[in-house]
């Protein structure tokens, strides 16, 4: 049943694949980065098993998936750092492994704060400008522009190690976009920072997208992906299984379903757990928080709580909400087809 549904969703998602962030499915945009049938193995361990993906100009793509899904390897391949066993990667039509110009057009922002702590903000940006091959004249211009855009002017001459995590994250991104790359690949760009700093980084990325860059963000933060990404892809076991606009995917997968989330004050007894499973609930924060689905959007809450109370379970809180990317992610990760 689930297998069939996943396959259906996969098929439906093809129709929205070309949608840009404005939501217009008809508007095709230039493909900046094109991956076709990518296979890669470490020894006998297959890491990429036929990945197909297109990143288009002016879109943010959220790459989602559990640890070990192959996201990092895919990102390395996009930057031309590993040689695929099979398949091809093209940046503006050229192989980044063989073409230095193509490699310069793709920038990578690592998950760690990959800047030099003993250097000032401006020195870091200058160094990474040099490393990305910019001329001295362009470095000076780009650095000033970046400092303005990322509101780093007042920090320009401070050592990076003395700045807050939020500033360091911003510098981390700025260091990769000095040379105006056509494709930007970010690995968990906002991990460990507060909401304000996160919003500023989102704004920086939106600005970059609006200037025509294709952006891929690998993240475990599904709220961020839903908020930021024009399209998302679910990756597991070396393959992207589902791809499309978040709203469309959720609609296609869940339709009018609603989710009911129940929190208990104390862990349910074994008979209670059996009962919860019988009525279609599954734990999301075991053993206190459980989630269930309402196919037609209606439920008799009173009857449900009475039933649970008779089994010795006291409900602390009940909430009903529309499914989101987290719901879809959990569902997809538990699907046997994946």
């Amino acid at each position: 049943m689930n297998d069939i549904k996943s396959a259906e969703i996969l098929k439906n998602s093809q129709t929205v694949r070309a949608a840009n962030h404005t939501g217009s499915a008809a508007q095709e945009k230039t493909v900046r980065l094109d991956i076709k049938g990518a296979y890669f193995s470490f020894g006998s361990h297959a890491v990429l098993r036929g990945v197909d993906l297109k990143l288009r100009a002016g879109e943010i793509f959220g790459l989602l998936g559990p640890n070990g899904a192959g996201k990092t390897t895919l990102m390395k391949a996009m930057c031309g750092r590993i040689k695929l066993d099979k398949g091809q990667i093209r940046v503006a039509g050229k192989d980044p492994r063989l073409d230095q110009h193509a490699r310069r057009m793709v920038s990578y922002v690592p998950q760690d704060i990959a800047i030099f702590p003993y250097l000032t903000v401006i020195e870091n940006l200058e160094i990474f400008g040099q490393i990305s091959g910019l001329s001295r004249h362009h470095i000076a211009q780009s650095v000033q522009l970046m400092l303005q855009k990322a509101s780093l002017e007042n920090q320009a001459h401070k050592l990076c190690r003395t700045l807050s995590g939020g500033y360091q994250r911003r510098i981390n991104i700025c260091a990769s976009i000095l040379n105006n790359p056509i494709a930007l690949i970010l690995d968990e760009p906002t991990v460990g920072i507060d909401i304000n700093a996160r919003e500023e980084i989102h704004s920086l990325l939106h600005d970059l997208r609006d200037r025509g860059a294709a952006i891929l963000i690998a993240t475990h933060d599904l709220d961020q992906a839903q908020q930021l990404a024009d399209r998302v892809g679910f990756m597991k076991n070396g393959k992207i299984w589902l791809e499309g606009e978040p709203k469309t995917l959720i609609q296609n997968y869940f339709g009018d379903e609603r989710e009911i989330i129940m929190s208990f004050s104390s862990p349910p007894p074994d008979p209670g757990i059996e009962l919860l499973k019988d009525v279609g609930f599954q734990p999301i924060q075991a053993p206190l928080v459980w989630i269930g689905r309402l196919e037609n959007g209606h439920i008799d809450i009173q009857s449900l709580t009475d039933l649970l109370a008779r089994s010795g379970m006291l409900v602390k809180e009940i909430s009903i909400r529309s499914p989101d990317l987290t719901s879809l992610f959990m569902k997809m990760m538990s699907e046997s087809v994946i």
Binding site: R103, V109, Q111, F116, Y118, F128, I131, S132, G133, A175
Partner: protein, 412 residues
């Protein structure tokens, strides 16, 4: 790219006070300490502290005490011992290096079975006794030659035949005349030349182009290369930090490559190493008179070989180990063993022959011997070609190994 890496290393070093001290302050300080020690122990400035107990109080022993006080080779203790026990205690407590007890008047040979002078020393400073003995004999030769000649004549008479009365009178007159001559010279602050007594042994020094002692020259290279290894390995470890926080990932994802990153780091480390060695040789030249300026070409080429070698060893270690802690433990072990075997701590000629042979496996030995050959023995570039080439070969091999190791770790 290479320049960018060089600039990062330079700024990083300039802002890291501990690394700066390790690179440019500690090595010269250690060298100065070593040189101060060895310029004394290996040369004529070794002044042992002695105390003298005169149990005779004769005219001759007074002359001897006066002569010892004048001798520039020793320092007399301010504390005057009253008994032999006092001398023993002073030696035991290391208040003096050796004690001299004048038990009998040294003028006469026949009166006593034992030697008139006893030297008391501690086995922990075994070298003190022979040095004091030698210097005491030298004092006798220079300031009391009449006593030495007189004892020799008495010895001659006891072993061969007695001198006739007129002969004895002649000898006594001659001895008196020598004594007067010595006293006159002393009054004129001149040294008495007792050529005849010294004729048995004569010293000849080879070369020497340096005012400094051989040990001071030796330790310039020895200390220099040991600290070169320490500081360049530390410097190369920035690679581990950069790999851990993904800076290397970011660099190689653009137009950068492992080769360019390592080249930038290598060039900076060589630059740092040359400055570091220059500081030590500057001190050696201007404070200890080692002739570095006269051999600057040889020193420059040896220094290039040494820094290239140390830099590539540092890069291999940094590329191979995953954490700074692992690398630090290994590098400390490596540098200390290499330095001990290679002669940075103890000169190679003091090692047993099997260890001397083994030491050729340590780059330290090649570096130290090269500096020593250039600065002490006056070797030219052609004499040093083999050792410099060997250091450069190690450098190339190390660089390639670092590249392969870093490439492998980035790929995985």
């Amino acid at each position: 790219m290479i320049l960018a890496v060089f600039r990062v290393m330079l700024l990083g070093l300039l802002r890291d006070r501990a690394a700066l001290a390790m690179a440019f302050a500690l090595p010269p300080i250690i060298y100065v300490i070593f040189a101060a020690i060895f310029s004394v122990t290996a040369g004529g400035d070794l002044k042992l502290k002695i105390a003298v107990l005169d149990q005779v109080h004769s005219q001759t022993t007074q002359r001897l005490l006066k002569a010892l006080a004048k001798s520039p080779d020793s320092r007399l203790s301010q504390t005057e011992p009253k008994t032999i026990k006092d001398i023993d205690d002073m030696v035991r407590k290391a208040e003096i290096d050796a004690g001299i007890v004048i038990r009998f008047d040294p003028t006469s040979l026949n009166a006593h079975q034992d030697a008139p002078i006893l030297i008391v020393s501690d086995p922990a400073r075994a070298i003190a006794a022979p040095i004091v003995t030698g210097r005491l004999l030298s004092v006798f030769n220079e300031y009391l030659p009449d006593i030495v000649y007189g004892r020799s004549i008495e010895d001659f008479e006891s072993k061969f035949f007695k001198l006739l009365r007129p002969q004895r009178e002649g000898v006594n007159q001659a001895l008196e005349s020598i004594k007067k001559e010595v006293e006159q010279k002393e009054r004129q602050s001149q040294q008495y030349k007792s050529d005849k007594i010294n004729q048995l042994v004569e010293q000849k020094n080879i070369l020497i182009r340096n005012q400094a002692s051989a040990t001071v020259v030796y330790y310039a290279g020895a200390v220099g290369f040991m600290f070169l290894l320490f500081s360049l390995i530390q410097g190369a470890m920035s690679l581990i930090d950069e790999r851990q926080n993904s800076i290397i990932d970011r660099m190689v994802s653009g137009i950068g490559s492992v080769g360019k990153i390592l080249t930038g780091k290598f060039l900076f480390l060589v630059f740092q190493g040359i400055i570091q060695l220059s500081l030590i040789f500057f001190l050696a030249q201007f404070f200890y008179g080692v002739d570095v300026v006269g051999k600057w070409r040889e020193c420059l080429f040896i220094s290039i070989g040494a820094t290239c070698c140390a830099a590539s060893i540092g890069l291999v270690i940094a590329a191979f180990f995953k954490t700074r802690q692992q690398a630090t433990i290994f590098s400390n072990f490596f540098v200390l063993v290499m330095s001990a075997i290679g002669g940075s701590m103890v000169p190679r000629f003091l090692m047993p022959s099997w260890l001397q042979e083994m030491s050729w496996f340590a780059p330290s030995a090649w570096v130290i011997e090269s500096y020593n050959a250039a600065l002490w023995q006056g070797a030219g570039l052609s004499d040093l070609a083999l050792s410099i080439s060997l250091l450069l070969i190690i450098s190339v091999m190390g660089f390639i190994a670092a590249m392969l190791s870093l490439n492998h770790s980035i790929q995985n």
